[in-house]
């Protein structure tokens, strides 16, 4: 079949060439649609359901909101699991779906269920789904600031409330329109509210209750339409405006009559613009600020969207009041640009090196150009394929591409054609067209099978990567698919375009100067090969020893599972003890930021404290996400300082500040961690049950057992308590004496301390809450709280302490649930012991010793699970892959012996990779692993081509030794070429230090080292082995027919 394709291609060579235009066209069109980002998206398919419940404590949130929502969502189709947390004022249920579920389908399902659960929720409580975005979604952040001397129209300086108003009503509406933006999230400042603060004494005096105040405000704040009337043929709309417009209007609202005198709001209350009870704050460079975060819709191109939004911000600046500025503090585009620049630079330099090598070794410019043309064409085809299979362009997906590897197939074909054409011209003089086409066909057909087999094998070795699941899968699938796409594209090109192009362009005189390099190498190679034959046992034992040595070396190398992309900026969690107040946290944050700014490398620092308006990351006020934006390296006092050095110095310096605990990470990484949010230790024992106290007791019991086991490290119980609560517990008998119900007391406490909403005040398009609550100094003074008068139905009053006990107690800071049940987690890491046996022992001991009450149960999770499942899959998939490769080889040779000989190339190729990793002091990582995979492919490819030739020669000449040596000599050039292009193609990658290079460096290092060793192997050990294996064989003619 291949032959007929080849014939067709060579016959219709011009038609085939014209397909180039199609490839370029679709490639360019696809490129416009290709999503570009810095890293692959490792977010699972999840939907967050946030329910804001102002004033609700964690226990109430869980009972009244989380539970019904969670229950409604159980048993959704394609559901993987649900988890939830209930905090002060917020319930968040995260629904995770199976991989590959369509997010819009999932959201639709949830929407249906949510609308049915709404009736079960307290009035006014509305669950909403989080924005349709991923861990890569936070693409741009900006702050809203006022200049030092800026004044409002009324002459006063801008407050945090004013800035927040500008953010919410001027900036946000404009930014939300940018295509690809799903949400603008605000944090910091205060939402403007109108506050009516009644004086309890005056309430008593006029006999007015808080409820009356609220209802008076509600009943005097409406516009009404009343249809229309017609007069003299003209239609008149009827409308009765009555909305409150400003503070004066509110002041004049009449509540009731007292002794025939109207009682107005201003008689009993202070009226003013106040601050909401906020759940989050933002700071920049040690000062409070308002921070906006633009979140990108799932699947958009972050480069374009970030660019558009940055442009939009420029136009928004014009619409702001004088003195107010918007400053972009984080822009994903910077990172993406840098990362893409790194990749592009690597690819371009690699491609250029490949072309130079091709030209030098082939000694024919046209041939070199034909081969080089495969590079852009296969790239364009790959891009088309990526768009079709929804793979985004990023460091991981493009990082493993090596054009050297990709053009290997083409190199072999072109090299053979050039050699054959030159040979033919040399023997018979100029060929006519027919003869030339025939030569091209023969030359191609001679090597096409081995090179196709080779490419097929390289493709097959990527299969294990597709077996990875979870985060690893999301991370590496794009890489594997891109490489496979590129290889297949190149494969298609080598059987179609390459022969066609050779047939068209390799006319006239074929100059095939044996380049100086090659002829020198050949002169050197022959005697060396002969010597090798003499000392074959030595060569072979050295090779074996090398392999054994490198296995040992590999075990001493450090390792990392997933390589970390250096994002160029630092993110750090500043963690304080639970229960830390927001204002206290802001103060601590100021000290922290001033300290961070003393580092000359730091450009700016800003932070989010607590939870933003849209609770995409529900943090309590005691946690702050700090973003440290670094200056460009050139502006550092010591540009050679590594980032990890800087982080270390920072960690040390910040450690001196009291009360903060830190966790250093990077912006995107932090976001992924927040979203994926699994147990991040080796072992996590989840305890499920009903009673929070009992859960804690059981957890501590389990903790003691875990601690008693050898190898346990950092074992701890998840922190669930520690939030101090002011309890106002009703005294039921006293309440009865004064004729009150519990709910009367609770309503009063809620209104007096938390505040009660009394409607909305409209200022044009802007709308602000109108809230009735006691003045700040009354509601915050715990000592005096007990004396506050609670009104009775008869106009009398009773002090609060008479009807309620007031005390401070510890209560749960948050309640976590998973799959519809309360849970608590005991986590532990393992040191100096094999994880599997540790987990087994823990399970055994817990079963025997732990005191688990009925109705409570355990579940074991943690990274050990992923590790186990990954190892299990790989122990199945890797042997299957190897068998598959072997099968392909056997198919090619119809000889297990030969297949094994070729296969022996793999370990020796790996040797070089390991040695170079060791020399460059790099750990084993999945990146390096992918390098090993690519390497095995190249090694096999080289061996395949070499052996095919030797066999053909053996068949022709009938003498094994002559066939082996001559075949080796003929294949010297292509072997060297493929080796050189493949390794040189990776050199820029191996040396690059730009953003994102850390992902590619290990891979490139492995391939370069491996190819060097594999080339030596192919040139010396392989011929020896083949000769040794076949020393007693008679030439078997029917066997060799297979390849023709």
């Amino acid at each position: 079949m291949i032959d007929s394709i080849l014939r067709l291609v060579i016959e219709r060579r011009l038609l085939v060439l014209s397909f180039i235009v199609v490839i370029i066209g679709t490639g360019y069109w696809s490129y416009q649609k290709l999503p570009i980002d810095a890293v692959p998206d490792i977010t699972n398919v999840q939907v967050q359901i946030n329910t804001s419940a102002p004033g609700y404590s964690p226990l109430e949130t869980e009972q009244r909101i989380t539970f019904p929502v969670e229950t409604a969502l159980a048993s959704l189709p394609k559901l993987a699991y649900t988890r939830s947390l209930s905090r002060y004022g917020l319930s968040q249920v995260t629904v995770v779906f199976e991989e590959g579920t369509d997010i819009y389908f999932a959201r639709n399902l949830i929407n249906t269920r949510l609308s049915s659960v709404k009736s079960e929720l307290p009035t006014g409580i509305e669950p909403t789904m989080g924005p349709i975005t991923t861990g890569l979604g936070e693409i741009l952040m900006y702050t809203v600031e006022a200049d030092e001397g800026a004044r409002k129209p009324d002459g006063t300086p801008y407050t945090a409330t004013d800035l927040r108003e500008i953010q919410d009503w001027i900036i946000k509406p404009q930014l939300s329109q940018v295509k690809g933006i799903i949400e603008i999230n605000s944090i910091g400042g205060f939402n403007k509210q109108y506050h009516v603060q009644p004086d309890p004494l005056k309430l008593l005096q006029y006999g007015v209750s808080i409820d009356q105040v609220v209802s008076a405000l509600e009943r005097n704040n409406h516009n009404r339409g009343a249809g229309y009337i017609e007069r003299n043929g003209q239609q008149l709309l009827v409308r009765s405006p009555g909305q409150l417009k400003n503070l004066e209007h509110i002041a004049d609202v009449i509540i009731t009559e007292h002794n025939h005198v109207p009682v107005k709001i201003k008689d009993i209350a202070e009226i003013g613009i106040g601050k909401e009870l906020r759940t989050g704050a933002a700071t920049q460079n040690g000062k409070e600020t308002v921070l906006g975060t633009a979140m990108m819709l799932i699947g958009e191109n972050s480069q374009t969207v970030a660019h558009n939004i940055a442009e939009k911000i420029e136009t928004i600046k014009i619409s702001l009041p004088t003195g107010v500025t918007v400053e972009t503090v984080y822009n994903r585009k910077t990172l993406v640009d840098k990362a893409i620049a790194t990749v592009t630079k690597n690819l371009l330099e690699g491609a250029l090196l490949v072309i130079v090598v091709l030209f030098l070794l082939l000694g024919n410019l046209r041939a070199a150009l034909i081969t080089a043309a495969v590079i852009p064409l296969s790239m364009l085809m790959t891009i088309t394929g990526m768009v079709q299979s929804n793979v985004s362009a990023n460091l991981m997906s493009l990082g493993a591409l090596d054009f050297g590897l990709i053009v290997d197939g083409a190199v072999i074909i072109v090299e053979n054609s050039v050699r054959r054409l030159a040979q033919a011209q040399h023997l018979n003089g100029m060929q006519n067209l027919r003869e030339r086409l025939q030569t091209v066909f023969e030359a191609t057909s001679e090597v096409i099978r081995p090179s196709l087999f080779g490419v097929a094998i390289i493709t097959v070795v990527y299969i294990p990567i597709f077996a990875l699941t979870g985060v690893e899968g999301l991370m590496f699938h794009p890489m594997a698919s891109t490489v496979v796409l590129a290889l297949i594209s190149a494969m298609i090109l080598s059987v179609t375009l390459v022969p066609a192009a050779v047939a068209v362009f390799m006319n006239g005189k074929i100059s095939e100067k044996e380049s100086v390099v090659i002829s020198h190498t050949k002169r050197l190679y022959k005697p060396l090969l002969l010597i090798a034959f003499k000392v074959r046992w030595l060569v072979m034992s050295v090779a074996t020893a090398l392999v054994l040595f490198s296995i040992w070396l590999a075990s001493t190398l450090g390792s990392e599972f997933i390589p970390q992309l250096n994002e160029g900026d630092i993110a750090l969690h500043a963690m304080r003890i639970p229960g830390t107040g927001l204002e206290q946290a802001v103060n601590m944050q100021e000290t922290l930021e001033y300290r961070i700014q003393t580092f000359p490398e730091v450009d700016k620092v800003f932070s989010r404290i607590g939870t933003a308006e849209v609770a995409t990351d529900p943090m309590p006020p005691n946690i702050a996400d700090n973003f440290v934006i670094l200056k460009p390296r050139s502006e550092w006092p010591n540009p050679a300082k590594t980032k990890s050095q800087l982080v270390e110095e920072m960690e040390h310096s910040l450690g001196e500040l009291p009360g903060n605990n830190y966790e250093f990470t990077q912006p995107i990484q932090m976001r992924f961690n927040e979203l994926i949010s699994g147990v991040r230790t080796d072992l996590g024992i989840k305890i499920f049950g009903d009673d929070l106290d009992q859960l804690l007791v059981t957890a501590n019991n389990v903790l003691t057992i875990v601690n008693s086991i050898d190898g346990a490290a950092d074992a701890r119980v998840e922190q669930v308590t520690g939030l101090q609560t002011l309890l106002v517990t009703p005294k039921r008998t006293s309440l009865g004496r004064y004729g009150l119900n519990v709910v009367d007391l609770q309503d009063w406490v809620a209104a007096a301390i938390g505040g009660k909403s009394a409607g909305v005040l409209y200022e044009g398009d802007r709308r602000f809450d109108l809230v009735v609550r006691l003045s700040e100094n009354l509601r915050t003074d715990i000592e005096r709280l007990k004396y506050l008068p609670v009104p009775l139905g008869n106009g009398d009053y009773v002090p609060l302490e008479e009807i309620a006990n007031i005390d401070i107690a510890d209560s749960p800071a948050q309640i976590s649930r998973e799959n519809g049940k309360r849970r608590i987690v005991v986590t532990a890491n393992v040191r100096g012991r094999d994880l599997g046996s540790f987990v087994n022992e823990v399970q055994e001991k817990v079963r025997q010793q732990a005191n688990i009450p009925p109705g409570y149960w355990l579940d074991y999770g943690g990274t050990f699970e992923q590790l186990q499942s990954a190892s299990q899959r790989l122990t199945i998939v890797v042997p299957i892959t190897l068998l598959l490769i072997l099968a392909i080889l056997v198919m090619a040779f119809h000889s297990i012996k030969d297949a094994l000989v070729i296969f022996s190339g793999v370990p020796l190729a790996l040797t070089g990779g390991i040695l170079l990793l060791y020399a460059r002091d790099m750990p084993l990582s999945i990146s390096a692993g992918v390098g090993f995979i690519a390497l095995s492919g190249v090694a096999v490819l080289n061996g395949l081509v070499m052996l095919t030739f030797i066999r053909d020669l053996w068949r022709e000449k009938g003498d094994l030794f002559v066939a082996v040596t001559e075949g080796a000599m003929i294949r010297l050039r292509p072997v060297l070429m493929t080796a050189l292009v493949a390794s040189l193609g990776f050199v820029p990658m191996a040396l690059n230090t730009g953003i994102g290079a850390e992902l590619q460096r290990p891979l490139a290092t492995v391939v370069i080292g491996g190819i060097l060793s594999s080339t030596v192997l192919t040139l010396f050990v392989l011929p020896l082995l083949y000769h040794w294996v076949h020393r007693n064989d008679k030439l078997n003619t029917h066997e060799s027919v297979v390849l023709n």
Binding site: H573, M575, I577, P578, N661, R680, E802, N829, A870
Partner: protein
Amino acid sequence: MNSKFLVIVFLIIFSASGYSSDDHGHHEDHDHHEEKTNTHIDHAIAQQVGITTEQASSATLHTSATVYGQLMTGPDQLSHVRARFNGLIKSVYVSIGDKVNVGEVLAEVESNESLKNYKIVAPISGQIIQRHANSGEVTDDQILFSIVNLDTLWAELKIYPTLQSLVKTHQPVIISVNDQRVQSTITHLVPSLNDSYQVARLKIDNSKSQLAPGAFVQAEINTDEQTVSLAVRKTAIQTLNGESGVFTKHKSDYEFASLVLGKSDDTFVEVLHGLNPGDEYVVDNSFLIKADIEKSTAEHDH
């Protein structure tokens, strides 16, 4: 051997990486078992973050309670003047708003029985607030004049059961009414007939006529004043591991001293045990010290 090798390489890569992949998840070591109670903060940093200290010493505690009530006139301050003998009013000398002294003639009445004129005089000094008398009218039994004296007022404060053991007569009180503050002492404690509260009565000087009866008042009763030998500021108190106490300072080291606390007022709290006079303890920003000691437990569960 070849295939095994690949398996080994793979397994090395995957299993070994498991051991290091979790590094980012570790926090610094923490010990739940021997709970930490001290920390070290450099002087410069302590100053920067506003940690201030004070020496523990004796203090006077002013304990007080807040109650509410109403301003009243005393029974002796309101007088309703009637005619002693019914008759015809001959002349009236005062009208609403006039101030009168004791004995001042308010009107003259011709008695029906004796047909003699007699004078009606003011029984108390004060201001006329009602007049139902015009010359030519017959007095009948009606009130002719109401005179009220507002030079002193009475505040009647409701003392609910929880405070009744603390409130005594002669305790000093500060009354706040409409932004004015007036001092007085409790003169009587009167039990009420049907309600659970007692009424504390106290006299208030109103010679400048700034206060009006009927106004609601808030009162601060100084229930106790006592000098204790050792007290610390309330802002210094923190709880650590479930115990209340303060942080004492020795050079740059801070140590938690758990205290047995006694009485307290708004600013100070008595120390019964756990601290010596002269010990230097943290007053402002003591929360930071607590936060620093407990910080290893601070974590971020995603």
